[in-house]
């Protein structure tokens, strides 16, 4: 196991872009935790006397990245926003992993009618454009970051369930599964002890790639004003509230959260890509 891990790391290191992405992702993760302690101001406190203050480019030291249309400190909002975006990302991963694995395992392992019913339902979900589905679910559930997480998770569960099911179909025909069954093992024992560990690799890669997408969809929901309280310092919501002021040259309200979305999505995607490449090479060996 240890040597396998070393092998993965070695291959990953060859991909320079992925290494840079890994460190950016790492910084973002650290910021998500310590950001609220670094933030100089309350991210939701409105100060109408300080609207549209420019930041460091005009020599301001009070508000490093300027203030928005309601006088809130953009730097503080971005720091808090990092935590929110990553929290949503991880929650989406957790929800997707648990439900997607469960559905995929049940469907793949038991097959037959169960499999047909579940897979047709999943086909239906996959037929919707993902953002549209997320919008409908978020609008139905109402406002709240937790509900947005659920809405985004629901659009990924079908794909994960499919991947898991596919792997399970291969694994369950393996001789060691047959051997285990011959020795009298029950279904639960076989699923947890033999099938699950052997389908995890593709699942982990998929979930890593999902983080960037989840952040992007959160921002999209925030931008469209669906499901997320507009006072929340969420990057997409910040973009949305600043967009009317772009034309006035108040670019900093939108540009900084935009850069953060860009960095987060790109770094997590490149990280996931590098990881997949490294793991694939291990599988080939």
């Amino acid at each position: 196991m240890n040597s396998e891990f070393k092998q993965v790391v070695r291959v990953y290191k060859r991909n320079k872009l992925a290494v840079v992405a890994f460190f950016i992702a790492l910084i973002l993760m650290i910021l998500a935790v310590i950001g609220p302690y670094l933030a100089p101001y309350d991210p939701v406190e409105i100060n109408l006397q300080l609207r549209f203050e420019p930041g460091f480019w005009e020599g301001s030291t009070d508000h490093f990245l300027g203030t928005d249309n309601l006088g809130r400190d953009i730097f503080s909002r971005i720091l808090y926003g990092t935590g929110i975006s990553l929290k949503v990302g991880y929650a989406v991963i957790a929800i997707t992993a648990v439900i997607g694995l469960f559905i995929g395992l049940v469907s793949g392992y038991f097959g037959g009618v169960v499999d047909i019913v579940i897979m047709r339902f999943i086909d239906i979900l996959l037929a919707f454009p993902p953002l549209l589905l997320a919008l409908v679910i978020a609008a139905t559930l109402g406002t709240g970051i937790e509900k947005a997480m659920l809405a985004i998770a629901i659009i990924y569960i079908p794909s994960l369930a499919r991947i898991v099911r596919g792997s399970v179909l291969t694994v369950k025909e393996m001789p060691y599964v047959e051997a285990s069954r011959a020795m009298g093992a029950g279904n639960i024992w076989i699923i947890l002890g033999h099938v699950l560990p052997n389908v995890l690799t593709p699942v982990i890669v998929y979930l890593t790639l999902l983080l960037g997408d989840a952040i992007l969809y959160t921002a999209a929901l925030g931008f469209l004003g669906v499901g997320i309280d507009p006072t929340t310092p969420e990057w997409g919501a910040m973009l949305s509230s600043g967009k009317d002021f772009l034309i006035l040259g108040k670019w900093w309200i939108t540009v900084f959260p935009g850069i953060m979305i860009f960095l987060a999505v790109l770094s997590f995607n490149l990280f996931g890509d590098g990881l997949r490449e490294a793991v694939d090479s291990k599988l080939r060996l």
């Binding site: 249309n69 609008a139 109402g142 406002t143 669906v226 507009p230 002021f245 006035l248």
Partner: protein, 527 residues
């Protein structure tokens, strides 16, 4: 294995290109296919919302009202200035009986509907009775949820009858102060009976009136197109075609205007003001609006059934700062539901002072020293009475937090928002009102009749009825002043601001008007 990264770069590049294209203004995008005749004068207006019906009897949405003033005429109309005085239109003259109950209108005999049929007294009777009389064969046909005429006049009008080919009598139940003025409002405009009978359920998308423009085409959520009515009884417009284009996003609207794709836009956001004023190619129009942006309180919902909580709410919010930030010079703080330009406005009333300490005291008296949690419902889109409703909600939340009230801002799509308030699922919800500039429409219809408030007060009802039953303006004024005091004291609604109506036209356009009802009037446009 690099495909994902490649894809991302590609998408980023595409996004840049799209931004570029939007910035440059895409002339082909969504533009109705208008015939390319060099002489044809096509006037294009971009608005934020589309109509839902083109039937004047059932129109009430802000996307519909402009259109009504171009497709239809009423018996009377407002003068072409800001005075709000009435002048003859389809009725050449009129008289009222001594007891004030019967109004007789003598109609013009030279008017034809767009479908070629004659305008006459039967058409007037038909237009009114199809809305007001439940036994009329076409009653309720095309109803979209609200008949504005029914709302304004069903209690007042007893009967409308054609007594001769070109003479109509309107009999009232009681003396009704605002009657003649109401006759100039779009819901009392005259439709072609033949067209209603022919099209039936589909009349709402095949409107036929007597107005200066006749209906050509309606592509839902894209545009409504009308062309000039060459047989118009009044002054024939100088333009051949008007296209009412739907452009929901205000930044896009301004860009469309700057790039010359449209000739005029309606409703700008305060944030755009500087840009517009700085441009030599654009002419800005700003009219004091007969409207109100307010927070509707559900008086049956705890804890807002307690007067002290409502008063605490008023003291907790710094309305002046809010209006200054959200409207930026395009609105006035509202003290009263009714705008200060109207008859009978009570200038002696002092608004609730911004006083968070007093708010906390009042909450403590009401048994809520630690405040409470509430939902604050807001709609996402800009509307005639507020450009950035969500900003206002965020400021409310921030101010309320200072006195311990934890407001959860819920942003709803407009349709959902409307029905939520109508079903009283809210505690406090932002909403607005735009109406005829008469105190009755604000103090009575908004405060006492609107379903959002769940509020009853016999004293106010009585004052309102007294004001309606007199034609003497001084007496009306006295009742309306008293009503304003009670409404303020009891915090029936939370008035926030009166918004100015705005439109921007290209400098080369002349004759374009924006009236105090917020209507675009393109009758005299030329370029």
């Amino acid at each position: 294995m690099r495909s994902k990264a490649g894809l991302i770069s590609l998408i980023a590049l595409l996004l840049l290109l799209v931004l570029f294209a939007v910035g440059c203004g895409d002339a082909e995008n969504g533009e109705p296919a208008a015939p390319e005749e060099p002489d044809e004068k096509i006037f294009i207006i971009a608005r934020g919302t589309d109509a839902k019906t083109l039937d004047c009897g059932y129109a009430y949405h802000e996307g519909e009202i402009d259109l009504m003033y171009h497709l239809y005429d009423g018996l009377v109309r407002f003068k072409d200035d800001e005075s709000l005085e009435i002048e003859p239109a389809l009725a050449a003259d009129w008289s009222v009986s001594e007891d004030g109950l019967v109004w007789t209108f003598n109609l013009r005999d030279d008017v034809k509907f767009h479908d070629g049929t004659d305008f006459n007294a039967d058409a007037v009777e038909f237009s009114f009775m199809r809305i007001l009389d439940e036994n009329h064969p076409y009653y309720g046909l095309g109803d979209q949820g609200l008949a504005y005429m029914d709302w304004l006049l069903s209690g007042a009008i007893k009967e409308v009858r054609a007594v001769d080919d070109y003479v109509v009598e309107v009999e009232l139940n009681d003396v009704f102060g605002p009657f003649l003025m109401y006759m100039g409002i779009y819901s009392q405009f005259i439709v072609s009976p033949t067209a209603v009978e022919t099209h039936g359920e589909d009349y709402f998308q095949n409107p036929v009136g007597t107005g200066p423009f006749k209906f050509d085409e309606w592509k839902r959520d894209e545009y409504v197109q009308m062309s000039v009515n060459d047989g118009y009884w009044g002054e024939i417009p100088a333009i051949d075609t008007i296209i009412w284009k739907v452009v929901p996003d205000e930044s896009t609207r301004l860009m469309e205007l700057q790039s010359g794709n449209v000739h005029a836009i309606k409703s700008i956001s305060p944030a755009q003001l500087d840009t517009i004023l700085a441009s030599d190619d654009l002419a800005m129009m700003q009219v004091a609006g007969s409207n109100l942006f307010y927070a509707a309180i559900n008086h049956q919902a705890e804890p807002f059934d307690d007067l002290r909580v409502r008063q605490a709410f008023m003291h907790a919010i710094d309305f002046d700062a809010l209006v200054e930030s959200v409207y930026e010079g395009l609105g006035t703080r509202a003290v009263n539901p009714m705008p200060p330009t109207l008859l009978g406005y009570n200038h002696d009333i002092e608004p609730y002072a911004y006083d968070p300490d007093r708010a906390v005291e009042l909450l403590t008296e009401a048994g809520l020293p630690d405040g409470f949690d509430m939902d604050l419902h807001v709609f996402a889109e800009s509307r005639a009475y507020v450009g950035r409703p969500v900003d206002a909600a965020e400021i409310f939340k921030s101010d309320l937090a200072q006195v311990g009230i934890n407001a959860n801002v819920v942003v709803n799509e407009w349709g959902t928002h409307r029905s939520l308030l109508r079903e009283h699922e809210h505690q406090v919800g932002f909403i607005g009102w735009f109406d005829v500039p008469h105190p009755n429409n604000f103090l009575n219809l908004l405060v006492l009749r609107a379903v959002n408030n769940q509020y009853e007060n016999p004293e106010l009802e009585e004052l309102s009825n007294k004001a309606l039953a007199t034609i003497d303006p001084a007496e009306q004024e006295q009742y309306y002043r008293e009503m304003q005091e009670i409404i303020l004291r009891d915090v029936v609604v939370v008035p926030i601001a009166h918004s100015d109506y705005t439109a921007v036209v290209l400098d080369e356009i002349s004759g374009f008007r924006l009236d105090s009802l917020g209507n675009v009037l393109a009758h005299k446009v030329s370029f």
